[in-house]
């Protein structure tokens, strides 16, 4: 599957390069043939398919040669260009065309020979372009995968996510509201479906493994227009009621992973949370569900699951909830841009049906791409993506600058040759064309190399993704569109950066150029070179400083005290509801787990909590201080919340500053109690003791009240670098949760982690450990965003530095070889070696200084743009600046010094010899 997905677009792209004279239709036909062959061979064996792919690619150069050969055959001769040969008026036009074609071909051949003759120049230029274009392809591929790529479903632009919006922002829909939308015959919609993530315990051969899937309405597959590759998908009619048949559609990936591609899987029974579900079908291989980046393993109808799990009667009638993500397919005459007015009548219906719960409700639509990440979170990946793109563009600039400087240098060296050709009657336009062809050839080769490198490293980039308990289904390898963009970038950079050197090289005055082959260096050429060098130094300094800022942010975040003790702790996620047993004694399970773990040698404390700080999951609540039944007009205080067992604070290492911990007496039938953190206590009861005070989770004065029995120290709950955030804890016994985390304090973390599956299965074999790790690992994985940024910027910065060093070296070395004659004269007139070195050095360093000043300016601008991602460092951080400048200075000095020393060692007696 992946072979074909990779090979076909690559082949299509390669055809454009290797069969330049073919039409799109022809190429598509060839691609079709290629795809057929690969698919058929893949069915036999992977090796056969791979061999065929390799052979097909290997035959491409031959195809190009054949094309060139044919074009020569067609053009016969370029007699028309020769003076004195009469041209037939009738076929003048075609003759001219043919000459252009064959001229272009011979330009290419000439350029290729030229490159082969100067391997150092060609190598440096190709390396630069490959790095620049490769970095762009990689970054583009990643940004494309994360931000731009759409769901692999037909007419994806008609697919929108529907959120309900009120003054609290965008929220998901309640099932009741979804039903109202689904039941209305309305022309704006071709269909709407609801879904949400669900974790399942999948029982295969006495082994329970955790899989992630979606609970979906029966319209799910219809709305997305996703087909089954085997069996079939379910429909609305057969699933949208209680008592519907328990059925499941598996993902292709799960079928391969857990069922070994069993061809007879359809119709068999699988165990989900110990309930029986019949396999209805296997979804198309390309379909991974609708959740961005997360590969879904299976799809279960909502009603069938509600029956199996015995959801409380009336779960489908509450209008106030917000647990269902809704996705609609717009009718074909609407688009995302003009659809919102059409949804207003629908929103009005919702408000009429449930005036209380749906007060001020509106419906907001999001395109599939931005909504996939959720409207709240879209900002951060977007920012990172934009910064990464900016960084890679910077590297490309440096790379192109490099090539341009090399071309400039070469152009100076070729003035003599150009002058001769000009004197022989070759027009200037013809000279420019030939020089441009050279840079286009360079760009094409460099682009191909870069793309190949990006393909090979796309796996490496994928390892930068967060450590999620889900299957991370993001394919960051550059696809066809990325390849196309890169080809365009390569070509346009060739034209832009090749044009100036070409113009300059072709602007020759034969009289002066031929008058003395050893003129002193051309002033204009030197000026072009200087500009390029200055820009390169500026850009690489800017990216070095940016890297410094991000690395120092990461350091600062790592130094943050999280408010708990990460060392010597084990955390393990589990979900009691995966047992699928509504009669399971959940508090009893928690108690048994705690006592079993406490017995383990070396365990000092253990606790169970619904959530842990810095996790992937979070919950919040609005808190109101309760005083004499008064209702305040405030909106409450938003707090992080968790349900915890006794001993939580000891186990996680957070100090309980005042009051008591929950005890075994805080049972479901006891007084409802809570523990708050200092921040919440300070906000609700400034300058008073919080102990004994009452809080409510709802605004109305007669809502249930909870008594504060303790105050815990603050810690970091969502991000390490967040400002103090209020938090509230309830006893697990009074607010039981199926999904929970075990926290144990032990010096032998590895031993306990190893023993966990055994401990769990001894209590109840139906409850598996979802994800067990040390707290240190947990905290570290919460930093993935920072690390990603630092790695990206670091990689790009390093590339920029290497590139500008190589470029500077190349330019200086060339300048030295061009000025050998001049140096000879100077040396003969009495200039000392020292003087010559100083002269060269001062020129190189002057340029670098100007570049560095410019670079500092760019870095300051970039830094202020990055303000929101930085933590603990100012965007004008002098340490990062100094480090960047120092690193650059060392490299620049080396790149300038080596050629300068060579200049000084020149012997006038050889350089001045005619």
């Amino acid at each position: 599957m992946s072979l074909q997905r990779l090979a076909v677009p690559a082949y299509r792209m390669a055809l454009i390069a290797f069969l330049p004279r073919s039409s799109t239709v022809e190429r598509e036909e060839i691609v079709q043939c290629f795809e057929d062959a690969v698919v058929h061979r893949r069915a036999d064996s992977r090796v056969a398919a791979a061999t065929y792919v390799a052979r097909s690619f290997a035959s491409l150069p031959k195809a190009l040669l054949l094309t060139i050969f044919q074009s020569f055959e067609l053009t016969k001769s370029d007699a028309a260009e020769r003076p004195g040969m009469p041209v037939q008026p009738t076929n003048r036009h075609s003759a001219q065309q043919e000459t252009t074609m064959s001229g272009l071909m011979s330009d290419f051949k000439f350029a290729a020979r030229g490159l082969a003759r100067r391997p150092v120049f060609a190598g440096l230029a190709l390396l630069s372009l490959a790095l620049g274009i490769g970095a762009n392809a990689s970054i583009l591929g990643m940004v494309d995968a994360v931000l731009w790529r759409t769901l692999p479903v037909p007419d994806v632009e008609q697919v929108v996510r529907v959120f309900q919006t009120d003054e609290r922002g965008h929220r998901r829909l309640s099932y009741a509201n979804y039903r109202l939308l689904a039941d209305q015959p309305d022309t704006a919609l071709d269909g709407i479906m609801a879904h949400r993530l669900q974790t399942f315990g999948l029982g295969v051969n006495d082994r329970v493994s955790v899989v992630h899937g979606e609970l979906v309405s029966g319209t799910y597959f219809d709305v997305l227009q996703v087909e089954a590759q085997q069996g079939r998908t379910f429909t609305a009619a057969e699933t949208a009621h209680t008592g519907a048949a328990p059925v499941v559609v598996l993902s292709h990936d799960l079928w391969v992973r857990e069922f070994d591609q069993d061809p007879n899987i359809v119709g068999t029974i699988v165990r989900l949370n110990d309930h029986s579900f019949q396999v209805f079908g296997i979804a198309e291989a390309s379909f991974n569900g609708t959740k961005f980046g997360l590969g879904m393993d299976l799809w279960v109808p909502i009603w069938a699951w509600a029956d199996a799990e015995q959801w409380t009667e009336g779960w489908n009638e509450q209008a106030s909830g917000s647990s269902w993500l809704a996705v609609a397919r717009l009718s074909s005459d609407l688009s995302l841009r003009n659809a919102e007015p059409a949804f207003e009548p629908l929103a009005a219906r919702l408000r009429d049906a449930h005036p209380e719960a749906n007060r001020d409700l509106r419906l907001s639509l999001f395109g599939e791409v931005e909504g996939g990440i959720s409207p709240h979170a879209a900002g951060i990946p977007k920012l990172i993506g934009t910064l990464a793109l900016a960084g890679s563009a910077l590297v490309l600039f440096v790379a192109c600058g490099n090539v341009a400087s090399l071309l400039f240098a070469k152009a100076i060296g070729r003035r003599h040759e150009m002058a001769i050709r000009y004197a022989m009657g070759v027009r200037r336009a013809r000279l420019i064309r030939q020089l441009l062809v050279e840079s286009v050839l360079l760009a094409m080769l460099g682009g191909a190399l870069g793309l190949a490198a990006a393909w090979m490293t796309s796996g490496v980039l994928s390892t930068l993704t967060p450590n999620l308990p889900y299957r991370f289904a993001v394919d960051a390898s550059p696809d066809f569109s990325v390849a196309l963009i890169c080809a365009l970038i390569a070509l346009s950079s060739a034209l832009v950066f090749g044009l100036a050197p070409a113009l300059q090289a072709s602007a020759v005055d034969p009289a002066s150029a031929l008058g003395s082959a050893r003129t002193l260096s051309s002033r204009r050429g030197q000026r072009g070179l200087s500009v390029v060098v200055v820009c390169m130094v500026a850009f690489s300094l800017a990216s070095l400083v940016t890297t410094g800022l991000l690395l120092r942010s990461l350091d600062a975040v790592r130094d943050v005290a999280p408010g708990f003790e990460p060392a010597g702790r084990v955390v393990a996620e589990f979900d009691v509801s995966l047992a699928g047993d509504p009669n399971l004694d959940v508090p009893g399970f928690f108690d048994a787990l705690r006592s079993k773990v406490a017995e383990w040698p070396g365990v000092e404390a253990s606790a169970v909590s619904s959530l842990i700080p810095l996790g992937d999951r979070a919950a919040s609540a609005q808190l109101f201080a309760h005083e004499d039944g008064l209702t305040y007009e405030d909106k409450g205080t938003e707090s992080w919340r968790a349900s915890i067992s006794p001993g939580y604070f000891a186990a996680i290492g957070t100090e309980l500053t005042v009051g008591r911990d929950f005890g075994l007496h805080d049972q479901a039938n006891g007084e409802p109690v809570v523990i708050v953190n200092s921040e919440l206590a300070e906000l609700l009861w400034p300058k008073e003791s919080a102990i004994g005070k009452l809080v409510r989770f709802q605004q109305s004065a007669d809502a249930q009240t909870f008594r504060v029995v303790g105050v815990a120290a603050n810690s970091r709950y969502l991000f390490l670098n967040e400002p103090p955030r209020p938090a509230i804890f309830r006893p697990l016994a009074q607010s039981p949760r199926g999904q929970a985390v075990l926290i144990a304090n032990t010096q032998h973390t590895a031993g306990l982690l190893e023993a966990l599956p055994e401990i769990f299965s001894a209590i109840d074999p139906r409850v598996p450990v979802i994800d067990g790790k040390t707290m240190d690992e947990h905290v570290e994985s919460s930093l993935w965003m920072f690390k990603l940024g630092a790695k990206l910027a670091g990689g790009l910065g390093l590339m920029a530095l290497v590139l500008s060093a190589a470029g500077l070296y190349g330019v200086m070395a060339h300048a030295v070889s061009q000025r050998r004659f001049e140096f000879g004269v100077r040396a003969a007139l009495g200039a000392t070696q020292q003087k010559l070195v100083t002269m060269m050095l001062s020129r190189g360093l002057r340029l670098s200084l100007v570049g560095a000043a410019l670079g500092v300016g760019i870095a300051l601008a970039l830094g202020s743009a990055m303000g929101s991602v930085l933590y603990g460092v100012s965007s004008t951080d002098p340490v990062s600046m100094a480090a960047g400048v120092l690193a650059l200075a060392v490299v620049v000095l080396l790149a300038v010094l080596l050629p300068s020393l060579r200049a000084a060692r020149l012997d006038p007696s050889t350089t001045l010899k005619p």
Binding site: L15, F18, L19, E26, E29, I30, V31, Q32, C33, F34, D36, A37, H40, Y52, R55, S56, S59, L60, K62, A63, L66
Partner: protein, 133 residues
Amino acid sequence: MSSSNASPALRSHEEALRHLPVKPVDLLVMLSLASEELHGYGLVKAIQERTNGQVVLVPTNLYAMLRRLQQTELIVRCDATAAPNADDRRRYYRLTGLGHVVLQAEAERLRNLLSAADGQGLIDLGSAGGVSR
């Protein structure tokens, strides 16, 4: 191979002779198209089977050949096809009348060649299979 349905636009024998000898791979393509219309991959498969897997064409080479054979009017791309299980995303090719004549002439040429070899005692056509005297 069947000495096929003589096309109404039958070209002269001299014209066919100008195309001789036919390249071995071209001959394979023409042979495969003699009895049925095939698309690109169909041809790859047919030739692979015909040669017991010894000749496996890659797409670019195949299409270079198809283009050449079309330029010389030995085969033609058909827009609508009568082939069973036709797939409209793929283009089908068939042998032209001229193609049939050339194929026949080439077969005749090869038979004469083989007879000559037989006469020298190099091969025994009796056991060569398929080719009758």
